[in-house]
């Protein structure tokens, strides 16, 4: 008989699971490491232990990519309209208001001109924190304007995507943003200007089936989820087992879709080098 009782693993697990003090510490969902916010921010929101890439806000991304003081934002005031007067369990109006309050953003993308190690570019960054970065009229319009301005100013375009897809609260108007943005990219391509698409966690559905897939080069952050349909929908429709690593950046690279998987800390220098090759 043991002298000491067997330690209760359950209790230990529970202790570990206990919530962290709000705001100061964050637990890595991948390896369980508890990281101080300051350290996480200093490390570009990448887990120092396992390299898990946390959600990066649009503002953080812009700061990490552009040369200091080169960012010139466009259309910051553009806001969504509840055209359909959408009433579900929550109204579109209420959803917009609560996300605007929560994120301090007006909608799900920030666009503007800036320089990446001296390469004058048009940059759009989607922010997954705002309504899952779904694409409605504002996202489509801001991205289209950015592409058109970049074409007129003979600049490369870099779009950092993350999105749950089209924004159903705007019905077909949101679906049409796919055609609109793709049209603007067609004209940008016709002017022989480079477009680099960067996929981050997660990039799916309507955004994936439009500009995110149209880069001259397509880059992705490690292990980010990339796909058209969600895994649950696929499982329910096909009753198929999903292969291991399905819909990750690595899986898509293996299947010939992604040019490069780039660690967040190397994204800026990689983009600069690629833009250099493309003469932008």
């Amino acid at each position: 008989m043991a002298i000491f009782p067997k330690p209760s693993l359950k209790l230990g697990k529970n202790l570990k699971k206990r919530d962290m003090p709000e705001g100061l510490w964050q637990k890595c969902p991948e390896c369980g490491e508890v990281i101080h916010q300051l350290e996480l921010s200093r490390n570009l929101k990448v887990c120092p232990k396992c390299d898990h890439h946390f959600t990066f806000s649009a503002a953080e991304r812009i700061q990490s990519l552009l040369d200091p003081d080169t960012f010139q934002e466009f259309d910051a005031e553009l806001a969504s309209v509840d055209v359909l007067n959408f009433k579900g369990v929550a109204t579109y109006r209420d959803r917009l208001k609560s996300y605007q309050a929560k994120t301090g953003l007006r909608d799900a993308v920030i666009t503007g001109f800036g320089s990446i190690e001296g390469h004058r570019s048009g940059l759009a960054v989607m922010d997954f924190n705002f309504l899952a970065a779904t694409m409605g009229s504002v996202v489509g319009e801001k991205i289209t304007r950015l592409i058109e301005r970049s074409t007129a100013d003979r600049r490369a375009v870099v779009i950092v995507s993350a999105s749950g897809g089209a924004r159903m609260y705007e019905g077909m108007l949101s679906l049409m943003q796919m055609a609109k943005t793709s049209g603007a990219l067609a004209r940008h391509a016709e002017a022989r200007l480079p477009y680099l698409s960067v996929l981050t966690h997660p990039t799916t559905a309507g955004v994936m089936a439009s500009y995110a897939s149209l880069g001259d080069l397509i880059l992705a952050e490690p292990k980010c989820m990339v796909g058209f349909a969600g895994p649950r929908v696929i499982r329910e429709t096909t009753h198929q087992e999903l292969p291991p690593g399905f819909q990750t950046a690595e899986f898509l690279k293996e299947h010939g879709f992604i040019d490069l998987i780039v660690h967040r800390r190397d994204l800026r220098s990689t983009l600069a080098r690629l833009l250099d090759y493309l003469g932008a």
């Binding site: 159903m168 019905g171 049209g183 349909a229 429709t237 096909t238």
Partner: protein
């Protein structure tokens, strides 16, 4: 044979049964029930009108999904002539969910791209329920390039619940196949007319839906997400699909008002499946009218107008615009 009735059509059926009884009775008993029969007929007509003139979005979706509704190949037989099906994307395979090829419409030699659904299980397996794989979209693109090279107008017939959500489709990059079509259709140097004939399921529909003119049959629907999918997310249950259908503004009349489509093609009372031939004639006339206009335009004008058409879609609040 009469098509299977939908739930909301039951009152009409009920009355028709009563009329039948009345007639039988009159014949059997040799009583003159002329007046009763007349009034019953009038009642049927007014009930019919009442129902079909006030169809909800959800009821229209039932009509759009009716298995007796004419499908793309029916229109290719009835509205077009001399259809020659062409196969394969020259990359991977031939997608049976998206038949395509040459067909004549009046004086026009066209390239037609279509989604095709099946009426029974066997046919549906072959057609994958009208859900195309990347091969379908890439075959469509190959034939659009052909149309461009030989200056043939392109007509697309849209009828899909959506692009296929499956492992193979993802492995072969269904998103990319749709995205490339959007970009290339925007620049294709020939006239394009798209017609939503049944279900316009999101990106899968748009993948052959960028056009100079987008038309819709009266009871077709075109939506960013299926009403069931929308209900599952926003109402937490698929049973709220009728409310979602209403909220999404996905009917032909709603979309005409929103400026998403250019014209609504009328269907016979009760829907296309009550008179497929008449529907085919309506579709034929509507597409011909558009081709008459579009084929006279210079390609540069066509492309400019096509770009502008999609460019102005969307509503935003702009500061300083009141």
């Amino acid at each position: 044979m009469k098509p299977a009735p939908l739930d909301f059509e039951k009152p009409i059926l009920e009355l028709e049964k009563q009329l039948e009884e009345l007639r039988k009775h009159s014949k059997l008993q040799a009583i003159d029930l002329e007046r009763e029969v007349k009034s019953m007929e009038a009642k049927i007509e007014s009930t019919r009108r009442e129902i079909y003139q006030n169809l909800s979005a959800w009821q229209r979706i039932q009509i759009a999904r009716h298995t007796a509704r004419p499908f793309a190949l029916d229109y290719l037989r009835e509205a077009f002539t001399e259809f020659v099906e062409l196969h394969g994307d020259r990359l991977f395979g031939d997608d049976q969910a998206m038949p395509a090829g040459f067909a004549r419409l009046g004086q026009y030699r066209c390239v037609v791209l279509a989604h095709q659904k099946g009426r029974d299980t066997k046919e549906n397996i072959r057609r994958n329920f009208g859900s195309a794989h990347p091969e379908g979209y890439r075959k469509a693109l190959r034939l659009m390039r052909l149309a461009e090279k030989f200056q043939l107008p392109v007509v697309t017939l849209i009828d899909t619940p959506g692009a296929y959500p499956g492992v193979g489709a993802e492995e072969r990059h269904i998103s990319e196949s749709i995205a490339v079509n959007l970009r290339e259709m925007m620049q294709l140097r020939t006239a394009i007319v798209a017609v939503v004939i049944g279900e316009g399921g999101s990106g899968g529909a748009l993948g052959i839906g960028v056009a100079d003119r987008v038309l819709m049959l009266e009871n077709a629907y075109y939506s960013v997400i299926s009403p069931e999918g929308c209900a599952a997310i926003l109402w937490k249950h698929r049973s709220h699909a009728p409310e979602a259908a209403e909220a999404l503004k996905l009917t032909a009349f709603d979309l005409k008002q929103l400026g998403i489509i250019d014209a609504v093609i009328p269907e016979p009372t009760g829907g296309a499946h009550h008179d497929p031939l008449q529907t085919a004639l309506n579709l034929r006339a509507a597409v011909l009218a558009q081709l008459d206009v579009l084929t006279k335009k210079k390609v540069s004008v066509l492309l400019e107008e096509r770009y502008e058409k999609f460019r102005q879609m969307g509503r935003v609040l702009e500061p300083g615009m009141g």
